[in-house]
């Protein structure tokens, strides 16, 4: 068996971050290799803070983050090398074309030119951006910008893909395209950790779901497991999610 299959794609232990009040509070979770893991939670639950710490964009106050066994706090550069990050706000350069943007990202991740070029064209093709590959991004719609940013997150072929609300503001067609690309990546053995408020995605795509509330993981499992634990009969994921969050708030 490939050692990567036994090592968790992402392992978090005792993670804490406070901005005056705790945003992430003693969080622990494990994402298996090749898994599509969905992180759910109400606004301000600590999802984005967690993912930003995993991506090396925020320094934790305490705790441990391991990406495929690499200590992401002690050796962030090695961890970042196999990680791809996409935030909810597509941050791209208006004055660059999608191809130039991907060329830049490939350079940052030190991807060999011919490999990067082939991957860039493949991604732009998947995301239906070929016709716009040499046009500056300044006139692009939000959906197009998000797709360019997604291509940037994938051009170095990361083993762990971290996405924070990647479908916010996308139309149905663009959202489908992004979901298809992510499904393809999971089939190719990449691991995905994603936050979303669109519960339909959780039902259709996620291998496992984690629910965060108040900076802590309050429930975790497959959809069936969560249904067994929190649902009654054929309860929808929305009903279960609301039950979990309400129970947690009541316990506080």
């Amino acid at each position: 068996m490939n050692p990567d299959q036994t090592t968790p794609a992402l392992s978090i232990k005792g993670l804490r971050k406070s901005f005056g009040r705790p945003a992430v509070d003693d969080l622990a979770l494990n994402v298996r290799a090749g898994e599509f893991y969905l992180l759910l939670g109400p606004n301000g639950a600590g999802k984005t803070t967690t993912l930003r710490m995993v991506s090396g964009l925020l320094k934790p106050d305490a705790g441990e983050i391991r990406i495929f066994g690499i200590d992401a706090i002690a050796d962030p550069v090695a961890a970042k090398r196999i990680t791809g990050w996409l935030s909810d706000e597509p941050m791209i350069y208006d004055k660059l074309t999608p191809l130039e943007y991907l060329e830049f990202v490939a350079g940052l991740w030190s991807v060999e030119a011919s490999v990067a070029a082939a991957r860039a064209r493949e991604l732009l093709g998947w995301l239906n951006l070929e016709a716009h590959a040499r046009e500056r991004c300044e006139g692009f719609s939000r959906g197009m910008r998000q797709k360019v940013a997604l291509a940037g997150a994938l051009v170095h072929d990361p083993k762990l893909i971290i996405l924070d609300e990647p479908l916010t503001g996308l139309d149905a067609g663009s959202a489908r395209m992004v979901k298809d690309v992510l499904a393809e990546k999971v089939r190719a053995d990449a691991s995905v950790v994603m936050t979303t408020h669109i519960l339909e995605i959780a039902e259709r795509m996620a291998d496992r779901i984690g629910v965060i509330s108040g900076g802590r993981l309050v429930a975790e499992g497959t959809l069936a497991e969560l249904r067994d634990q929190f649902g009654r009969g054929q309860a929808s994921l929305e009903d279960m999610f609301l039950t979990i969050v309400e129970q947690d708030r009541a316990a506080e």
């Binding site: 090398r81 941050m91 791209i92 074309t97 060329e103 991807v111 860039a120 046009e135």
Partner: protein, 509 residues
């Protein structure tokens, strides 16, 4: 209370927004700083009055007669401030055209858009007046204090110039709009504004250098050549100067004329403003499918791609290009002087400080863009590259641009004197490095589009950047004369830099 949607109602709305905007700009968005800012403003006003007193003391002690040399000097001062105000007004008009902000709300409301735009044109004139009063007011106050109330007319002239330059900017920008269309007007207006802002002073300076071999604009204006070629002192051309000197009859005509011009042009253009704004804003929302870049994929080391990215973004930034053009424009008189005096070896004392000062200021702007104005901080932050290496690449990009711009000047100096070229090179490098270091120490993440407001994030950084550039320039100027006093100024610059480091948030990080 004024009726909703009437002119006064819109004016009150605009005034409230402008006041809050200005307050946020002065306090960098921190309400607790209001008191401190007020104290600084009072101190600033007092020191400006002190400077004005020192500058004007020798002149106002004697009675100023409105003779031809005086009229020429006052008129050129009015033209000088007028060109700067016209440049600022063009920037404001362009911003009104191309910034969407609340325009969609206003234009979708059942109101007469011309009222809104009439108020906005008025607000531009008001802000231009206030800005000129802020800068020129202390000088006028000292003139009133020493020379009597007749100098109050100078305030009237400031208001008249503000009104005229505002409507001139509106008319010019709209003319550009009609001539070259909304898409190209943005860049063209910015470039025209930059040129207009500097052309008068540069033209005057160049003429002074070539006709009299002097750097003194005043000496040139008082020369027999100019006196022989301007209209007589009873010409209508001198009315604004006469008004500023206390001729009430001239003041009424000049102020009345400018108010009429303002009202006429506002009445003519305000109704069309809505259409132009819609056309301009739609260019920013319609996809601009401009083909650029090559098909070839070039991937180097992270540092290489970062430097390439920074260079591309700088080259593709129209506003930055217009600002750089302005810098280069200001460098043109010393460049001409270098060419004119080539081989005579007497130019460096002026040229070297100008070069050093420009390098410091340009490097400050570029460093802000590359270090703080990163549009994809998450992408760069999540890349597998050590933060120090990323910063180094960005600093290298700034220094490369500075090198590219200033190398020809240093090379020119090298033909005149090796020593002067060495001083210029060292000064340019130190000024650029100091400004870049200050931007690094005071860095605060922002969007590149916020470049205009970069000064508001840290007053200390802005002040320090200018002060230290001036110090390096002074040190360079003294050094080319061979005086050892230059060492003292170098030490002062280094001390100031150390003080800035001590005050910077970077020390605490």
């Amino acid at each position: 209370m004024s009726a909703a949607r009437s002119l006064p109602w819109f004016a009150r709305h605009e005034a409230r927004l402008a006041w809050r905007d200005m307050l946020a700009m002065m306090t960098a968005g921190q309400p607790r700083r209001e008191r401190r800012v007020a104290i600084w403003l009072v101190a600033f006003a007092v020191s400006l009055h002190a400077i004005a007193y020192l500058v004007l003391r020798p002149y106002v002690s004697r009675e100023i007669q409105p003779d031809l040399p005086t009229l020429i000097a006052v008129t050129s001062t009015i033209l000088l401030s007028g060109s700067a105000m016209l440049s600022q007004a063009m920037e404001s008009v362009t911003r009104t055209f191309y910034t969407r902000s609340d325009l969609e709300l206003i234009l979708s409301a059942p109101v007469q858009a011309q009222k809104v735009f009439a108020v906005r044109i008025g607000a531009m004139a008001l802000s231009a007046s206030l800005m000129s009063i802020l800068l020129m007011g202390p000088f006028i106050d000292i003139l009133i204090f020493r020379g009597g109330p007749r100098w109050l007319g100078a305030y009237g002239i400031l208001i008249a110039v503000s009104l005229v330059t505002t409507v001139l900017a509106v008319a010019l920008t709209i003319k550009l709009f009609q001539l070259i269309g909304p898409r190209r007007t943005r860049l063209a207006a910015q470039i025209v504004a930059a040129i207009v802002g500097g052309i008068f002073v540069i033209g005057l300076q160049t003429a002074a250098m070539f006709s009299g071999g002097t750097f003194s604009r005043l000496s040139f204006l008082q020369s027999s050549f100019v006196l022989a070629h301007v209209p007589g002192e009873h010409s209508i051309l001198w009315w604004p100067a006469r008004a500023a000197l206390g001729n009430w009859h001239a003041l009424i005509w000049v102020l009345g004329g400018s108010v009429l011009a303002f009202l006429a042009i506002t009445a003519r253009y305000a109704p069309r403003f809505a259409g132009y704004v819609l056309a301009a804003t739609s260019t920013s929302i319609r996809p601009r499918y401009r083909q650029s870049g090559s098909n070839r994929f070039r991937v180097g080391t992270p540092a290489m791609v970062l430097r390439r990215k920074e260079r591309l973004l700088i080259l593709r930034d129209p506003w930055l290009i217009s600002q750089s053009l302005m810098q280069l424009l200001y460098l043109s008189p010393p460049a001409l002087l270098l060419w004119h005096n080539y081989g005579r070896g007497s130019t460096a004392i002026v040229l070297v400080p100008v070069l050093i000062m420009s390098a410091g200021q340009l490097a400050g702007g570029l460093a802000w863009l590359t270090i703080s104005g990163e549009d994809a901080p998450d992408l760069v932050g999540s890349a597998p590259v050590a933060p120090g290496r990323l910063l180094r690449a960005k600093i290298e990009a700034v220094m490369q641009c500075i090198g590219l711009i200033f190398c020809p000047f240093v090379a020119g100096l090298l033909l005149v004197s090796r020593y002067q070229a060495l001083i210029a090179f060292a000064g340019i490098f130190l000024a650029a490095a100091s400004s870049t270091a200050i931007q690094l120490w005071f860095r605060a993440q922002a969007k590149r589009s916020q470049f205009r407001r970069r000064h508001t994030s840290s007053r200390i950084a802005t002040l320090a950047e200018a002060l230290i550039s001036i110090n390096w320039a002074a040190a360079g100027g003294i050094a080319v004369t061979g005086s050892p006093l230059g060492i003292i100024v170098v030490l002062l610059a280094a001390f100031l830099l150390w003080c800035v480091w001590r005050l910077s948030p970077a020390r605490l990080r």
